[in-house]
């Protein structure tokens, strides 16, 4: 009774307080009839009102009786992931990322496809989550922990499981690749910098090849093996549905001083123009010299 009153008072406050920022986790689709073996899509959203946030970090703890099938970052509000959401052994998904320019509204952080392994009440928790105000000072705000649960029943012999099917035939967004040489990155060696988004299933991985070697799985910033950067470089972005976008960096034609790389064609063009200008000036000057010497003589 004593604690009941306390809980009631807290409940009243929790109803009337709109926290500065909240997360929401909810299964999509109208049905609430979940069976063992179903593939259920959960939306994990950031919910804010009148305050813009530009960075988030935290983790999701998923009931051990769920199998995490897929993490979909395709519709995410996150511009760049510092810690890409990925599955750990103990069904914990850690994540951290930034939203360039800030975000105010309700937007997807990522979606999860989960499959119940057992019947009963299965839960998902958010834990130790923070958002950062888009105020230029990195003001850190704690987000209240959240718990969502669904009731799962056994699959009857005549029933079939619901399967999640994401139709994504679109390649990741086009992107640029930069060669960078900075003393604060990989001991001042040449690195590749790249990032893109995919509006469907989300970016699964990047692959790079230098010259005619095979593509290998990498992440940005990527330390170039060939520090002479005299070979063609290809960067491939692959989404979770297997769609690819390949971007070519013709490093062979790049000329780099400090951390600035210029296409060699442009350098040749500048040198050619400079040479022609020099020739014209020299010709004019030699003509005027001739005239002066003729006048004197």
């Amino acid at each position: 009774m004593k604690y009941g009153l306390h809980i009631l008072i807290f409940f009243i406050f929790s109803v009337h307080f709109t926290s500065a920022a909240d997360f929401s986790i909810k299964p999509t689709g109208g049905s609430t009839d979940y069976k063992v073996g179903d593939e259920i899509l959960f939306e994990f959203n950031l919910v804010t009102e009148n305050i813009s946030y530009n960075a988030i970090e935290g983790n999701l703890r998923i009931d051990e009786n769920f199998t995490l099938q897929q993490i979909i970052t395709g519709s995410s509000v996150i511009s760049a992931w510092i810690e890409n959401p990925s599955q750990s052994k103990d069904n914990i998904v850690n994540f951290a990322g930034i939203i360039a320019g800030g975000y105010d509204g309700t937007g997807t952080i990522f979606n999860l496809v989960l499959t119940p392994k057992k019947s009963g009440e299965l839960k998902i928790f958010t834990n130790n989550n923070f958002v950062y105000v888009n105020d230029g000072n990195g003001t850190k705000i704690s987000v209240p922990n959240l718990q969502t649960s669904i009731n799962v029943r056994e699959l009857l012999p005549e029933e079939k499981n619901n399967k999640f099917n994401l139709k994504d035939t679109t390649a990741p967004e086009n992107f640029t690749v930069e060669v960078l040489k900075d003393n604060n990155l990989q001991d001042g060696k040449y690195v590749l910098i790249f990032s893109t988004t995919d509006k469907g299933s989300g970016i699964k991985s990047y692959e790079v090849t230098e010259g005619k070697k095979v593509f290998k799985n990498v992440s940005s910033p990527y330390l170039l093996v060939n520090q002479k950067i005299n070979e063609r470089i290809y960067v491939k972005a692959i989404d979770y549905s297997g769609n690819e976008r390949v971007v070519e960096l013709n490093a062979q034609k790049q000329f780099c001083i400090a951390n600035i790389c210029i296409n060699k064609k442009i350098i040749v063009l500048i040198l050619a123009i400079s040479f022609m200008v020099f020739l014209i000036i020299w010709k004019k000057q030699s003509q005027s010299f001739k005239k002066i010497s003729e006048n004197i003589s």
Binding site: H6, A55, S75, G102, E173, N184, S220, P221
Partner: protein, 346 residues
């Protein structure tokens, strides 16, 4: 015993109520410093049914040319009974299908006269244009992949001052045209002194849309609101007397509104101090805020440098860079990334 329990209960209830009010007060007074937004409007012209990516008539066929009931991409009905669109040509000739409608977005609004307008799509520069002498701009992005985007509109005035960017999320649907109108970027703002001698004037100045009514807020124990007007070049200036302000740190921000009723939100704050001296602010002083590689841009390169040192012990030049350009706490964590995201230029 019962009385003790009652006393305990009443005390606890009072404490919980006090805690509750404290929490309420804290949340109400959360000083975010983030800029306000203008009253912009988003209008979406949906795609024709035969190019919206949906099976509208549930016949298992979606859009032109897969759905036999669609005569072209611009046919607005997947239903077999509906007449073909006027001027659609009918007859199923090869050229009758035309081109599919473009999936795009258009932004229009007001910034500063002849300012450079930059639109960032998910943090990447998508398009740039120059506003007119009346500060109005209109710019489009075509060929977008359907999905949710976070767009940022930023303006840099003719004299190189960048105002507070304006970001908003938009869901783009296949074949739909999205029109974002009524964007009104906050005025730029600066002050002539880092410290003003109490009783002297501090000059608050900036740029907005021409002939706008500018409201300047000066934060103090009591907030002060003063009004001035921008001239035909959008420039405004106000001499604020500091006699009414207490000694210590203060800030100011401004917003604009015009006779048509359009108004901007308040922009970011500019800081100054009230003290015993007048210390001029060097207008040419460049800060490296979040620009880790000193290329006057804050983008993926800076993000990569910060990500490389994320949660690692710092050594070498990065210690000085973190101290000068980030929050100077000797480590790179999410706070530094938040500063980077705030200053993001793309």
């Amino acid at each position: 015993m019962n009385t003790e329990i009652k006393k305990f209960n009443i005390k606890s209830v009072v404490i919980i109520f006090l805690l509750g009010f404290l929490m309420f007060f804290l949340f109400q007074n959360l000083n975010t410093d983030s800029a306000e937004t203008s009253n912009f409007t988003v209008t979406i012209v949906p795609a024709p049914q035969c190019f919206d990516g949906q099976d509208n008539d549930s016949d298992t066929f979606t859009d032109f040319p897969d759905d036999p009931d669609c005569s072209s991409y611009t046919d607005d009905s997947e239903n077999a009974d509906s007449p073909p669109p006027s001027g659609g040509g009918g007859g199923g000739g090869g050229g009758a299908s035309g081109n599919p409608p473009e999936t795009g977005i258009t932004f229009s609004g007001r910034a500063y006269p002849l300012s450079k307008i930059t639109i960032l799509k998910d943090g990447v520069i998508a398009v740039e244009t120059i506003s007119g002498p009346d500060a109005k701009f209109r710019v489009s992005i075509a060929d977008l992949t359907p999905g949710s985007y976070n767009f940022t509109v930023r303006a840099t005035s003719a004299n190189g001052v960048t105002g507070t960017p304006f970001s908003f999320p938009v869901l783009i649907s296949q074949g739909a045209t999205t029109d974002v109108t009524g964007i009104f970027l906050s005025p730029t703002i600066d002050v002539d002194k880092l410290e003003v001698k109490k009783g002297d004037d501090i000059v608050i100045f900036g740029q907005s849309s021409p002939e706008s009514n500018i409201t300047i807020e000066v934060n103090s124990e009591n907030q002060f609101f003063v009004n001035t007007e921008s001239d035909e070049s959008g420039a405004y200036i106000y001499n604020f007397n500091s006699a009414a302000l207490e000694y210590g740190a203060h800030s100011s921000r401004s917003k604009a509104n015009i006779t048509t009723g359009e108004s901007s939100g308040f922009g970011a704050k500019v800081a100054f101090r009230v003290g015993d001296l007048n210390i001029a602010k060097d207008p040419n002083q460049v800060t490296c805020r979040a620009d880790l590689n000193n290329d006057l841009k804050v983008n993926l390169v800076d993000f990569s440098i910060a990500a490389f040192w994320y949660n690692k012990p710092l050594f070498g030049d990065i210690i000085i860079i973190e101290s000068n350009c980030l929050n100077s706490d000797g480590k790179i964590n999410l706070v530094d990334f938040s500063i980077l995201a705030f200053n993001w230029t793309g």
